[in-house]
Symmetry: C2
Amino acid sequence: MNTKALHLISYGMYVVSSRKGDRINGQTCNTLIQVSSEPPIISACINKGNLTHEYIEDSGVFSASILAQDTPLNVIGRFGFKSGRDVDKFDGVNYKLGETQAPIVLDNTLAYLEAKVIKRVDVGTHTIFIGELVASEVIGEGEPMTYAYYHLVKRGTTPKTAPSYHKD
Amino acid sequence: MNTKALHLISYGMYVVSSRKGDRINGQTCNTLIQVSSEPPIISACINKGNLTHEYIEDSGVFSASILAQDTPLNVIGRFGFKSGRDVDKFDGVNYKLGETQAPIVLDNTLAYLEAKVIKRVDVGTHTIFIGELVASEVIGEGEPMTYAYYHLVKRGTTPKTAPSYHKD
């Protein structure tokens, strides 16, 4: 078994956000996909230890901002390598509350999606939140950032809490 | 709601294969992801009407070949736009049977993964098969083909049975 094979799976880069009461939080996520077409259903795989996990569990909603290729590394650092338990990640960030009242990051965002959770699947370290799409808009122009671009061009790293984290 | 937002989600391109007894089949798939790191768990979203769905349901195993960017369109056409009910998709294809006895496409493949299904999640038109990784190897060099590359550069199209199919 050579787990380097897993590194060749392709992903995008997203900020997945949610709320708990009037508290809001978000995190980078590379595992957002569409899993059904009619009606549109999306899923996102979130580490159980993350604050966003707690918020999605509580509110049953999440948003996803599809990041542009030219998103600055410090934006990804803010949402990917800090915890909402320590800092207010949305402080100084341009965002709005969506139809689900989940926050939606607007800067560096090509498009956003909002979903209501219909299923939760326990996969060990992570939960796959499966949600029916309730809102979606295109708000920017450009190429989406891929996970490969983030690693190869931006020299970005992977937090230990990501499904795709490998020690090697 | 603008479902064009969904088009900006990033995916790779894979051939996901399985078996039923000694019959084998495979199909293109863009929804393969890693969903947990320890142990490595992957998932693939497969249309309920597809023969590969029936085979994974039966055998509880699947393989995924991660396709290279220069994979010819006719390979994708063979696995993506034909049914194993009508043709033997592996006829003339270079493949091997893996540890799970699922077939693994070897040509145009950068790496492959094999998994044993541990959960099945009904998401309407599709099932998400979640599998623990039991084998994986890197067998080629190059860039993986992304779904965006397939559409933009290769001018490839999406079958109606894909989770990401849109009428528009």
